[in-house]
């Protein structure tokens, strides 16, 4: 089930793309499984079918889904690795911002590495603690 928020300032086609990608990464939508038809999604979400079509068109151009003539859209074979790749890019951007901050503090690469390792351990400990409680 895909959800969109029409009152959001994020364009609806972007929301549909994001929802479908997250379904792919969670394994809810698997390779070569069909996506809901444009009709189904438009009437269920009460949105313009052109908006759904745009989301599908862009997902197809980006390689996440493919179309079978007269049958509709399906999840691509390599979709989950594409989702992962995209996620890695987002992660790298977050790293870039962190490195930028570290540079402002004039930290050496060795120091940044140490802080990162330390943070990883803290997060892991915190998760461990959360499980025990």
């Amino acid at each position: 089930m895909i959800k969109v928020e029409t009152k959001s300032f994020i364009p609806i086609y972007e929301q549909i793309k994001k929802e479908l990608k997250s379904k792919i990464s969670q394994g809810i939508l698997k390779a070569n499984e069909p996506l809901p038809s444009i009709r189904e999604l438009a009437t269920q979400l009460l949105i313009n079918p052109n908006t759904v079509a745009r989301a599908y068109r862009e997902l197809e151009q980006e390689g996440f889904i493919y179309t079978r003539k007269g049958k509709g859209c399906y999840v691509s074979d390599n979709s989950s690795s594409l989702v992962k790749e995209e996620g890695t890019n987002v992660l790298n951007q977050a790293f870039d911002r962190a490195i930028e901050e570290a540079k402002k503090l004039k930290l050496e690469p060795e120091e940044i590495r140490r802080l990162f390792e330390q943070r990883l351990e803290q997060v892991a400990e915190g998760e461990e603690k959360g499980r025990k409680e």
């Binding site: 009437t43 009460l46 313009n48």
Partner: protein, 291 residues
């Protein structure tokens, strides 16, 4: 361009009140137009002039490049019109109404009419005066869609209706879009209802269109800018296209249209300590433009 309707320099006043002033608009085939405006700004007047219910004082209308003469009903055979209040003759039964419309619309699709009747649980023998407002609206949608219109005009039809009835109605409209090619002019004051459906946004204010643009373009070119200043607080920010402005000490909030990189640089040059640029929802866009 494939134009369904063109309105040129339309003016209409009631007594001393000028409701529409030199109003011009062009409606392209196959698109869904959202018409927004505060109450009393002329949305219904505009639609009633288009539908030939009232004559304009000045100005011209063209339906598919043909000039419309007042009292000429021929172009209306291609238009589905759903007003806020039902205009059906209340003594008629639904069956009589169907026969009446079948004789008026050459494109009448009786099968589609029957399908919608069943879907909306409407009985042919029922008299229109015995229907609730929600049922009358569904009947209106059924008549409009069964006439296989090229152009569908919705004048705030869902106001005051419950959520399930509104959803049934919207679903019918979306199915019509799915059939392809239908142009829609959708006036509503339920702004979020339009947000998911429209391709084009037209805002009517003080008798004119103050915004008339592709909706995706509007969404990406109307921005809210939040600025916080340190010591050098500018007296007045000189920038074209400031729609609204709120100032609170060192903090300043602007809605800017159209937003672009050049404006970003000009604001950066004022050296704010922080500057955030955000998108707006349709409701926020509407409120900014008409307040």
């Amino acid at each position: 361009m494939n134009e369904v309707l063109r309105i040129e320099n339309l003016s209409k006043s009631f007594g001393r009140k000028n409701v529409l002033q030199d109003f011009s608009m062009s409606i392209e085939k196959g698109k869904v137009y959202g018409l927004l405006g505060k109450n009393g700004e002329g949305k219904t007047t505009l639609i009633r002039v288009i539908m030939g219910v009232i004559p304009p004082d000045r100005g011209e209308l063209f339906y598919k490049s043909q000039k419309i003469k007042f009292n000429d009903a021929s172009y209306k055979k291609e238009i589905g019109y759903i007003p806020e209040e039902s205009i059906f003759l209340s003594w008629m039964t639904i069956k009589e109404l169907l026969n009446f419309n079948a004789s008026f619309f050459p494109t009448w699709n009786a099968k589609k009419a029957d399908e919608y009747l069943a879907r909306f649980s409407l009985e042919k023998k029922t008299r229109i005066k015995n229907l609730s407002r929600g049922m009358k609206l569904k009947l209106g949608l059924m008549v409009a869609l069964a006439s296989e219109p090229e152009f569908l005009i919705l004048d705030d039809p869902t106001s005051g209706l419950d959520v399930p009835t509104r959803q049934d109605f919207l679903k019918g409209v979306i199915e019509e879009i799915l059939e392809g090619g239908t142009t829609i002019l959708f006036s509503s004051h339920l702004v979020h209802e339009l947000e998911g459906i429209i391709d084009h946004l037209s805002i009517l204010h003080k008798g004119r269109l103050i915004l008339d643009q592709d909706f995706e373009e509007v969404k990406s070119s109307v921005k809210r800018v939040r600025l916080t200043f340190d010591k050098n607080i500018p007296e007045k920010i000189e920038l074209e296209g400031i729609i609204t402005e709120h100032k609170d000490g060192a903090y300043e909030e602007l809605v800017v249209y159209p937003w672009n990189e050049e404006k970003r640089e000009r604001l950066q040059a004022l050296r704010p300590v922080s500057m955030e640029v955000e998108s707006l929802t349709l409701e926020e866009i509407f409120v900014s433009f008409v307040s």
